[in-house]
């Protein structure tokens, strides 16, 4: 396997993902085809699905825009974007090193439940700023800690991290629910949920808006992560490791340590995202609640070519789609999981377009060799029959 043969999810910065192109226009066109066309195709295909179910796609997507952007919709979308930026950065850190941290749901929920469960005590006994700092650190530590077992197993024995992170994710979800029903249960209600944080102990809003300061925190952290990944020697070593763990060994990179650092950083960013989400937006957690952001933002971090900076506009697009989509689904009487279908379609179209682009780069045929040969033999046989 050569590196050019692997698919487009590996660590490629935005600057080297474009082919040597002659003009600015051509580069833009290629960028559009590779990054925006999958979104358009997925929305068109899901529109056909909506038609098949007897719903009007134009009405549905009109509602998505109305609820996601118009009025105060853009503010709701920005509130949703804050944790997504950190979440996306967490995924990118692991994926750049070709480590499949798929246990994000457990990491997010564990971080979130610890923050929201302890917040009522900490915000009352400590100055607010100090309490926020401790809580955010706590969320990050919980998320990071939940990647420790997969990280060690991967570093030590090469155990497939997909299965370990997934299994631990289910355990994390279970522990979260236990904590909500147990020590963090709100004593005033019978419904299993944590205490509701008073509004004045949550993140303050940006003056004149409904947006909490989490978006600013998220942007700062994400820019720092981007700096570390692209401008430091650690970022370079990470990219070398991600491109080829074998060559990383030859240039003296400590692979086991790299695996553990990447996993911890990935989990910590996801736990941090949960802390920002809890302190800024939710303020309490119910049992069996699971926003499952992770699976839904996967295609967008891939479309951003695993660049943290490029992930910002893509995640903003998703925030609008999800904010508007949740309300629009209710409006047209559709299960809100319809968004999962849209996301799955984006992933598929993205992969296919990436494949075509790669074949173009290599100057190869778009058809797989077997199929091409079969088609060719079909054509020549027909020619032979009718001379």
């Amino acid at each position: 396997m050569t590196t050019t043969e692997t698919q487009g999810i590996e660590a490629r910065g935005p600057e080297n993902s474009a082919r040597p192109a002659s003009g600015m226009g051509r580069r833009l066109a290629i960028g559009f085809i590779r990054n925006v066309l999958p979104l358009i195709l997925a929305i068109a295909t899901s529109g056909i699905l909506l038609l098949a179910m007897g719903k009007s796609p134009s009405f549905f997507y009109g509602e998505v825009i109305r609820f996601g952007l118009m009025g105060s919709g853009w503010q709701r979308s920005l509130v949703m974007l804050a944790p997504l930026l950190l979440y996306g950065a967490g995924l990118i850190v692991a994926f750049r090193g070709k480590l499949w941290n798929l246990g994000y749901e457990g990491q997010y929920l564990l971080g979130g439940v610890l923050v929201v469960g302890l917040a009522p005590y900490l915000t009352q006994s400590l100055p607010l700023v100090l309490a926020f700092a401790i809580l955010m650190l706590l969320g990050a530590m919980a998320g990071g800690a939940w990647t420790f077992i997969p990280a060690v197993l991967k570093a030590r024995f090469g155990t497939n991290e997909i299965v370990t992170t997934l299994m631990l994710s289910f355990v994390g979800i279970g522990i979260t629910n236990m904590l909500i029903r147990g020590p963090f249960q709100n004593p005033d209600v019978t419904v299993p949920q944590t205490q509701v944080m008073p509004l004045d102990t949550m993140f303050p809003k940006i003056p004149g808006s409904k947006i909490h300061i989490g978006i600013i925190i998220a942007l700062i952290v994400v820019l720092i992560v981007h700096y570390v990944l692209t401008r430091t020697s650690f970022g370079l070593r990470l990219d070398v490791y991600g491109a080829s763990p074998k060559s990383a060994l030859h240039v003296g990179i400590n692979a086991p340590r790299m695996v553990i650092v990447l996993f911890l950083a990935s989990g910590a960013l996801i736990g941090f995202a949960a802390a920002v989400d809890m302190l800024g937006l939710w303020g309490n957690m119910r049992a069996n609640w699971n926003p499952a952001y992770g699976s839904e933002i996967l295609p967008f971090v891939f479309l951003a070519r695993l660049s943290v900076l490029a992930s910002i506009p893509f995640l903003a697009f998703y925030a609008v789609l999800a904010t508007g989509g949740a309300l629009a689904s209710q409006d047209v009487g559709l299960d809100s999981h319809f968004m999962l279908v849209v996301v799955a379609l984006i992933l598929m179209f993205m992969s296919v377009i990436e494949y075509i682009g790669m074949k173009r780069d290599l100057g190869q045929s778009y058809l797989p060799p077997g199929l091409r040969k079969a088609l060719a033999s079909l054509l020549t046989r027909r020619k032979a029959r009718n001379p």
Partner: protein
């Protein structure tokens, strides 16, 4: 409470089979796929598609057999995504697998919401294939030998997969495609075709597993009902390293851990349901930690084959 009452043991065995059989079927499919070098991470989605199709067809025809067939058929159809995109075009198997999982979860819950969210129908019990004589054995007979006939079909299928992988030429080709596709290619085999057939067989079993879960284990379809069974099948497959006896054994151990949880709920021991739900996954993690070195995958797993590269 007396632990050895008839009702108690019967409930234990029934719960044990309900949990382990769908996992066993799905793991058989995943094993064939992984042995050929294709990681089907979309198994969760394929199972949901299969379960939903089986549910719809059984509601319409009132026949469990047609429902199971429909589940297996839809499993084959949905594995076409993996076949075309990952095997034929060589796209990243993890990305496509995740996409199929999301698609399966999303589509089935949207369709269920559209059609059944108001009526929430349930299915009856499948007609058991009672084995004369054996099903008259007290306690054990009632729960094992009166299982709906698919139970016996599953055991037969497991034996069939074992025979296919170890005793036939095609099984050898499948394993070669996962171990060293270059050598298969050099010896005149067709890597892509071998993997394609393996993926379709995998789809058949995953769909059947989903159908078993919906029709027999629970008697209904609910959105996202697999709850990690598909992922557990991937773990079982990796621990079993292609040995069918291990696949059967690991699936049964998993079923046992689910059944222990269910039975504890019947006793006076007051354990939160969250612990019971978590327990099987904790068992899997403990097994993985203890036997980390034995979780082995074929060398070519997840890599698209392209001739001439190494």
């Amino acid at each position: 409470m007396d632990l050895l009452t008839v009702a108690f043991v019967s409930a234990f065995i029934a719960g044990f089979l309900a949990a382990s059989m769908p996992l066993l079927v799905a793991s058989l499919g995943e094993t064939i796929g992984e042995q050929s070098g294709v990681l089907n991470l979309g198994i969760e989605g394929v199972m949901l598609f299969g379960g939903y199709a089986a549910f719809v067809v059984t509601l319409a025809t009132d026949s469990f057999a047609w429902g199971l067939l429909a589940g297996a058929g839809v499993g084959i159809l949905t594995s076409l995504f993996l076949l075309v995109l990952s095997v034929l075009l060589g796209l990243n198997q993890i990305v496509i697998g995740l996409a199929v999982t999301l698609l399966g979860g999303g589509m089935t819950s949207v369709l269920y919401f559209e059609n059944y969210s108001k009526s929430t129908p349930r299915l009856g019990k499948g007609s058991p294939l009672a084995i004369p004589g054996l099903s008259d054995i007290p306690v054990v007979g009632d729960s094992i030998f009166s299982q709906p006939s698919i139970f016996w079909v599953v055991l037969f299928l497991a034996a069939g997969v074992w025979w296919l992988l170890t005793k036939t030429n095609f099984g050898l080709q499948i394993r070669a495609a996962g171990q060293n596709p270059n050598s298969l290619d050099a010896s005149g085999g067709n890597v892509v075709a071998t993997r394609a057939v393996a993926v379709l067989l995998g789809g058949f079993f995953s769909g059947l597993g989903g159908a078993y879960l919906a029709l027999i284990s629970t008697g209904t379809f609910t959105p996202f009902m697999t709850q990690g069974v598909g992922y557990t099948a991937i773990v079982v497959t990796m621990l079993a390293r292609g040995r069918i006896s291990w696949v059967v054994g690991a699936s049964l151990v998993f079923g046992l851990s689910v059944a222990v949880g269910t039975v504890i709920q019947l006793t006076s021991i007051n354990l939160p349901t969250d612990i019971i739900k978590m327990f099987p996954f904790v068992v899997v993690i403990v097994v993985l930690v203890l036997f980390a070195r034995s979780a082995y995958v074929p060398p070519a797993l997840g890599l698209p084959y392209s001739r001439g590269t190494r």
